[in-house]
Amino acid sequence: MIAAITVGLAAAAAWYVLAPLWRAAPDEPHHESVERARLVRERETALRVLRDLALDHTTGKMSDADYEALRARQEAAAIEALRRLDAVDAASGAGAAAASPPAVREP
């Protein structure tokens, strides 16, 4: 009985693990999707840091000059990430919905 369970388990495990090898190859993480994930991450990080900087500045922990300098750097990073995201999405022609930037509330 135990031997039968063991053999059955082994066979099931082997079938499950090896199945991808004789099926149609799944989508490899293409360079575009890897690049896209990286850019989304950079954008999210830059936006969060910008938000933190704004809070620090508003609560008086940062001089105007330093705030401007740090903000400019993060803005540049965020804008660069967005620009390249646009380029990646335009090139792939897909994922536009997922790529959509954060919703904007007009001031």
């Binding site: 135990i2 495990a13 704004a54 508003t58 008086g60 922990k61 330093d66 904007v104 001031p107």
Partner: protein
């Protein structure tokens, strides 16, 4: 049942085969860029996790049914043991704890593979290889050296049961929580190593991706340490919660390194600095987690927590050496690519405070490491085993911890890049006044010990900075949106969970430090022998001994001293301090009589008893009691709870920032810059 044991052994062996296959498939898949091989490796890891779950189920069933044909069950269960502790015996012994480790790692592996596959898919093969390699080591141990599925041909009539000290709810949750932390450190390690292997451009993102996993591991380690301290306090009967035991230290060291990382990674996010430093912290935290496992299982240092001496220690040391050498080699390979783009702008800045904070955390970790391994070092170097013991740690660690306390208050108020004199005056005035006021009140109240006055005054200062931070954030929201203060407070925390969760954690640490200081410096104790009806004073309490009682249950004889406790003239509690004597010959244990209040704990243990001469009545016996008054201990436990709440707030995923504050974008930037325009985010 031999069949079930065979099934368990097979499941572990098959899991080992699968993780080895996963390593090969992931390496090959990455080299030949065949995604189906990587997909197959992921499936192998899932299969391995399922098999380990099956193995764990086999062991749990054997424990619950008290199947003494399993050597492990016979060693850790007996007929008198409550069922719940039969189940917790799963991690009560070396073999079961290794299986738990492997099982937890399998769960983490599945979660990490899923998360990394989504966030940074190029790291997936590397993450699989590292996690599977660590799993392979543990599974090899389980297969070849310490199998929980070893059986005997003839089952004993009864098992030996667990050490009675482990039959406690705190001990039921302490080890698995600590394991979640220890094993959790493997995931950031795997991510960082995979990022280094993937290429220079991936390293930075890898370290940032590792942050969330490190935070979780840190949280579990924190809770594991807290549960362990609570167990030590209420079960061991010595009146303390931390003994600088080697195995306790082994858990503290990775916690310290993880704490340093959680702080320094913020500089990497903000200023693109310290990537190299963060990589090394992740490697160090993982190495220390394996070192802790080595300490527990090698028998090289004596500890109340360690398992018996076994050949596992040497194997762990070899594995640790290989892992550290490989990780450092790959870090060295990418060292130039990890160079920071920027440097510190000023000595007085938030960045500098974080760097100093890291140095102090590492200094404590180094001191703890040195004190822990000193007996071994002295043995190797001089042939004499010298134990430095708690006095060493008590002298070295507190001054550094005070430095960290200062930074806990100063850091959040310093500006990024450089702090101006005007901002320092503005930011430090109120918290400084709060700290000074606390110090003055304590002096006026008659406290003269400089150390505790300094700690409590600094705690007042740090608490002031935290309150100021919350107040300013709330004011900013109110100014921007006109929200009522409670709404503004909730929204502020919800929109900035990491920051304000961190402040809540700091507040929890303050409570912890105050509790530790109060109970370490001001604790008093006395040993008294009393006849029935006699009383003794202990601090503000008077303890009257009423008589001895005797009960038997579950293979134990319990001798208890009935006590009435008076706080001033008021009767505060009726307590029983007892000794438990075990019929199977195990060492006797204490049941502590404990009365906790925010002011202090009255902690009483029964040391011994002497029957009245000529009297056969046990109730008339004289008893010897140890009476301890430990001030502020309840604050320490409360601090752990607050820390837990703060950590959960900080770990909750933050809402994607909808808008950020920038001026109107230049026309040339067009749509790409649109998301950056808008209202003050986070306000």
């Amino acid at each position: 049942m031999a069949g079930a044991a065979s099934l368990g052994r097979f499941a572990v062996l098959a899991a080992l085969v699968l993780v080895c296959y996963a390593i090969a498939a992931a390496v090959l898949g990455a080299r030949v860029r065949r995604a189906e091989l990587v997909a197959s490796a992921v499936r192998a890891l899932r299969g391995s996790a399922a098999l380990l779950a099956a193995a764990a189920l086999v062991l749990l069933v054997a424990l619950a049914t008290r199947d003494y044909t399993f050597q492990y069950v016979a060693a850790h269960v007996d007929d008198a043991q409550p069922l719940v502790y039969d189940l917790t015996a799963f991690w009560g012994g070396m073999e079961g704890s290794l299986l738990l480790w492997a099982l937890v790692l399998a769960g983490y592996t599945l979660a990490a593979v899923r998360a990394v596959g989504r966030a940074q898919p190029e790291l997936l093969p590397g993450v699989i290889v590292v996690l599977a390699a660590v799993a392979a080591f543990f599974l090899l141990m389980l297969t070849a050296v310490a199998s929980p599925f070893a059986t005997v041909p003839f089952a004993p009539l009864d098992g030996r049961g667990m050490n009675p000290l482990l039959l406690n709810p705190w001990m039921a949750i302490h080890p698995p929580t600590l394991y979640l932390g220890y094993v959790g450190l493997t995931v950031p390690f795997a991510i960082v190593i995979a990022a280094l292997a993937a290429g220079p451009s991936a390293a930075d993102g890898g370290v940032l991706l590792a942050r969330r996993w490190m935070m979780w591991a840190w949280y579990c380690l924190s809770m594991g340490l807290w549960f362990g301290a609570k167990w030590s306090y209420v079960v061991l009967g010595w009146g303390g919660y931390w003994a600088w035991d080697p195995v306790e230290n082994a858990a503290l060291m990775p916690w310290l390194i993880a704490t340093a990382f959680i702080h320094s990674v913020m500089i990497q996010e903000r200023r693109e600095m310290l990537t190299r430093w963060n990589v090394m912290l992740v490697i160090l935290a993982f190495a220390l987690s394996i070192f802790g496992t080595f300490l527990t299982r090698s028998g090289v240092l004596s500890s109340v927590h360690s398992f018996t001496q076994s050949p596992l220690g040497t194997l762990f040391l070899i594995f640790l050496g290989c892992a550290v050498v490989a990780a450092c080699a790959i870090a060295a390979w990418r060292w130039e690519a990890l160079r920071s783009r920027y440097e510190l702008d000023a000595a007085l800045s938030r960045e500098s405070a974080f760097v100093l904070n890291n140095v102090l955390f590492l200094a404590i970790a180094f001191a703890v490491f040195l004190g822990t391994v000193f007996p071994v070092l002295s043995d190797v170097l001089t042939g004499r085993r010298v134990n430095v013991g708690p006095p060493f740690f008590d002298h070295v660690v507190p001054p550094i911890a005070v430095g960290l306390l200062v930074l806990m208050g100063v850091g959040p108020l310093l500006a990024w890049r450089r702090a101006s004199a005007a901002s320092l005056r503005r930011n430090f005035l109120a918290p400084g006044a709060a700290g000074t006021a606390v110090g003055a009140v304590l002096l006026a109240a008659g406290m003269r010990a400089p150390g505790p006055i300094l700690v409590f005054a600094l705690a007042g200062f740090v608490a002031g900075t935290i309150v100021l931070e919350f107040a300013r954030g709330v004011q900013a929201r109110q100014a921007m949106r006109g929200e009522p203060a409670p709404v503004a407070l909730v929204a502020l925390v919800a929109r900035n969970r990491r920051r304000y969760g961190g402040y809540i954690v700091h507040f929890g640490m303050l409570l912890l430090l105050c509790g530790i200081t109060g109970s370490s410096v001001f604790a008093t104790q006395r040993v008294v022998t009393l006849a029935p009806g006699e009383a003794a004073a202990a601090g503000p309490y008077r303890v009257r001994y009423e008589g001895l009682e005797q009960t038997t249950a579950a293979g134990a004889l319990t001798i208890g001293a009935r006590l009435r406790v008076f706080d001033g003239a008021r009767e505060a509690a009726t307590l029983v301090a007892a000794r438990n004597l075990y019929l199977n010959g195990r060492d006797a244990t204490s049941s502590v009589a404990l009365r906790s209040t925010p002011r202090d704990d009255l902690y009483i243990t029964l040391v011994g008893w002497t029957p009245e001469s000529g009297s056969g009545d046990a109730g008339g016996a004289r008893v010897t009691l140890r009476l301890l008054v430990n001030p502020l201990v309840m604050w320490m436990w409360a601090g752990g709870l607050v820390l837990s709440v703060g950590a959960i707030v900080a770990m909750l995923p933050e809402a994607r920032p909808r808008t950020v504050p920038v001026p109107a974008p230049a026309p040339a930037l067009g749509a790409a810059a649109a998301p950056l325009a808008g209202e003050q985010a986070g306000q």
